[in-house]
């Protein structure tokens, strides 16, 4: 440390000693830094949050029922299944790959659940485990095909889309539709399990406290390491804002049925995946491979292992999403996982802000993206518009999201940050 410039106070944090750094402090600094980031093309989840607000405002004006507690509760329940599938899509997109077969895999999982519960008389837990294991095995197969033969994931999963759709039909048999026993716990869980209000409020407080103490703990570790720390006021404001938003949401939903258990499961999965992506070696490797495969390989990362684990996770999330969807509809049929499931899951990840080009994104984009898609779908249903128009509008929104992704990429390039 002999090279520290003489004019730099020794007590200044290690990461703030460069005189070229524009120093920003406190709440004003946080706001300034945020504005600078946005202008530099690092939009994060800003476009989708703004989009969500605009969508809600438009539909609320067109139909006052849109923001009713009843509709919002339905909306959260509709989000859970496809949202869960979308978490897996976020993972493969981070690697710069794609999985087009998530719809078929989710349908296959639904078929396994249906046949297992009704014709094989398996216990629910066994049926769920079998479906998830099949999902994981499909992902492992994709991973092997991709890493051994170098077939593009686009083609592998396109083949998987057809093959597993066929397997789904085969398993369902000639009837093509199986009703799940209504009293099995997975159906109960997906259709009528809601958190009691006190538990929901408790969760809101826990979430805000976790944010606050997580930040405080990190600040103290940074201070110990001689690094700069954010202002305590910013942390406090963030935590209080989160608390207000969550408590308000819980209170509003509680006027109807409350917070659905499946939606909570989905959000928990998003938070867990976010932790793995941002705070573990595995997550760091995923981003590295998505950014530059060659650099990751030279750094000693076992690239093939990363590809295989991500494909396994993606197919497993697809299977789990299929289970949730069929449990909510209490049936497994030919149409399980068909129709727009596939594209909604992919669109949600992209709309949420995960780049199609790999290496950029976050688990939260699954949550934000699916909220946008389901809001549009739910709003158009309330307006009595049929699915033809719904598809067209969802397609337009997807296109808009991809355009925003490409534009922000170009903006990063022109600001020297691509």
């Amino acid at each position: 440390m002999t090279t520290t410039p003489t004019e730099t106070p020794a007590e200044r944090a290690a990461d703030l000693q460069d005189e070229r750094l524009v120093r920003t402090e406190g709440v004003r600094g946080a706001v300034l830094a945020f504005r600078q980031r946005v202008r530099g093309g690092d939009l994060g989840s800003l476009p989708v949050v703004i989009g969500l607000i605009v969508i809600c405002a438009i539909f609320q004006i067109l139909n006052p029922n849109f923001l009713s507690a009843n509709n919002l509760v339905n909306l959260t329940l509709q989000c859970a299944a496809v949202g869960t599938i979308s978490i897996g899509i976020v993972l493969v997109l981070l690697l710069g790959q794609i999985d087009l077969s998530v719809g078929s895999v989710s349908g296959l999982a639904a078929a396994i659940l249906g046949v297992g519960l009704t014709q094989q008389n398996w216990p629910v837990a066994i049926a769920i485990i079998v479906a998830l294991v099949v999902g994981a095995a499909i992902g492992y197969l994709y991973g092997l095909l991709f890493t051994r033969f170098g077939v593009p994931s686009f083609v592998i999963t396109l083949a998987g889309l057809l093959a597993f759709l066929g397997l789904q039909l085969k398993i369902l048999g000639p009837t093509g539709s199986i009703n799940l026993p209504y009293d099995s716990w997975i159906v109960q869980f997906a259709t009528s399990a809601f958190l009691p209000p006190w538990a929901a409020y408790a969760l809101a407080f826990i979430a805000a406290a976790a944010l606050f103490f997580g930040d405080v703990r990190r600040a103290s570790r940074r201070r110990k390491a001689g690094l700069s720390t954010g202002a305590l006021s910013v942390t406090l404001i963030k935590a209080i804002l989160l608390l207000i938003v969550l408590v308000a949401a819980v209170a509003y939903l509680a006027t109807d049925r409350g917070l659905g258990a499946t939606f909570l499961l989905f959000v928990l999965l998003v938070i867990i995946m976010n932790f793995f992506l941002t705070r573990t070696r595995w997550g760091r490797s995923v981003f590295a491979v998505g950014g530059s495969v060659e650099a990751a390989r030279r750094a000693g990362i076992k690239v093939n292992r990363i590809y295989i684990t991500v494909f396994i996770l993606c197919s497993s999330f697809a299977a789990l999403g299929g289970l949730l969807a069929s449990a909510r509809l209490t049936s497994a049929s030919l149409s399980s996982g068909g129709g727009d499931t596939n594209l909604n899951a992919i669109a949600a990840a992209v709309i949420g802000g995960t780049s199609l080009f790999g290496g950029r994104g976050s688990a939260y984009s699954a949550l934000l993206g699916i909220l946008v898609i389901q809001s549009i779908s739910s709003g158009l249903t309330l307006l009595n518009l049929d699915s033809s128009i719904r598809y067209m509008i969802t397609g337009a929104v997807l296109l808009l999201a991809v355009i925003i992704d490409s534009l922000s990429r170009r903006s990063r390039a022109s600001h020297g940050q691509a």
């Binding site: 690094l227 760091r284 950014g291 990362i301 020297g416």
Partner: protein, 311 residues
């Protein structure tokens, strides 16, 4: 991983080479890329390898980096004969190679790139604070001019990226650093930055193998120059005692025989007495390589095709 401990005083007392190659050969099919190469690298010394295109520089780097094993000959590392079958083996020995394309992940920040594949963990979670602190102390030791380690590598300049790549190679505490064309794509100021960095590696007691086309850089930082020509050793000079033209002659093959080598040694002796070195070297080179012996711009190797033929 205390970086301070590695900053030993420039080792001059210990004259054991840290890396020593004897009779190393490598062929690709019918092509003999390297023939009987001898090379020694001492701790605290910068050895430049120069040579024309196709002289075998990259092959030599790849052998040391574990990309291809050699066909014959021995490599000694710290006095022990070693095999380098894979890149991992090379790194484990303590040879860090910075390839020309740097291999950084543009979407990750400086800290993530420095510790990529060697992240420090605290339980299951990454220990970001520890990694950031170590990044700063490492970059400060190298006097690197990087304003923030939390910005994506994409937003750094070419010289800064080179600095990050070199700093990354030091995380594993190597004893030899191989730099492949570190200044090839850089501007004047950034080149100077990288050359400073090379000097700092030498001060830390590391052996540095510098592959370069740029004679100005070589003369600025290297202690010794090893010339390769058509896959063979073609001279090993102390930079202090050799002129630019002599190196060029060795590269192009203008002095490719015993007689000229002897004569050039004589010319060097004469230089101690009078300043006629350049003239002498030119006189030597002139019969065979007229084009080369002309005063050259100090940063380009003007190799004409005729030079090859006149050999």
């Amino acid at each position: 991983m205390t970086m301070e401990s590695a900053v030993a005083e420039p080792t001059s007392a210990t004259r054991e080479p840290v890396l020593s190659l004897r009779g190393v050969s490598k062929g690709f099919g019918a092509v003999r890329a390297l023939t009987d190469i001898d090379l020694d690298i001492y701790p605290g010394e910068v050895v430049a390898i120069v040579g024309d295109n196709g002289a075998g520089k990259s092959t030599l780097v790849k052998i040391l980096a574990g990309v291809h094993p050699q066909d014959s000959g021995t490599i000694k590392f710290d006095g022990q004969i070693v095999n380098i079958p894979t890149p991992t083996a090379s790194r484990a020995l303590g040879i860090a190679t910075v390839f020309q394309d740097l291999a950084l992940c543009d979407n990750l920040d400086v800290v993530s790139n420095l510790f990529l594949g060697r992240e420090i963990v605290h339980g299951v979670a990454l220990d970001e604070e520890e990694m950031e602190q170590r990044s700063w102390s490492l970059l400060r030791q190298l006097s690197a001019k990087i304003p923030s380690v939390r910005i994506a590598v994409a937003s750094l300049s070419g010289g800064q990226r080179q600095t990050v790549a070199i700093a990354r190679s030091l995380i594993g505490e190597p004893s030899v650093v191989i730099l492949d064309e570190p200044t090839a794509a850089l501007g004047v100021a950034q080149t100077a930055e990288v050359l400073n960095l090379v000097e700092r590696l030498r001060e830390r007691g590391l052996g540095v193998l510098l592959i370069s086309h740029n004679m100005a850089d070589v003369q600025a930082v290297a202690d010794r120059v090893a010339v390769l020509r058509l896959g063979r050793n073609n001279g090993d000079f102390h930079v202090a005692d050799v002129s630019y033209e002599e190196i060029i002659s060795a590269i192009t093959g203008a002095t490719d025989n015993v007689v000229t080598r002897r004569a050039s040694a004589h010319a060097v002796d004469a230089a101690a007495d009078n300043a006629a070195t350049t003239a002498a070297a030119e006189a030597l080179a002139a019969p065979s390589a007229g084009a080369v012996s002309e005063p050259l711009p100090n940063n380009a190797i003007g190799i004409d095709d005729e030079t090859e033929e006149t050999r």
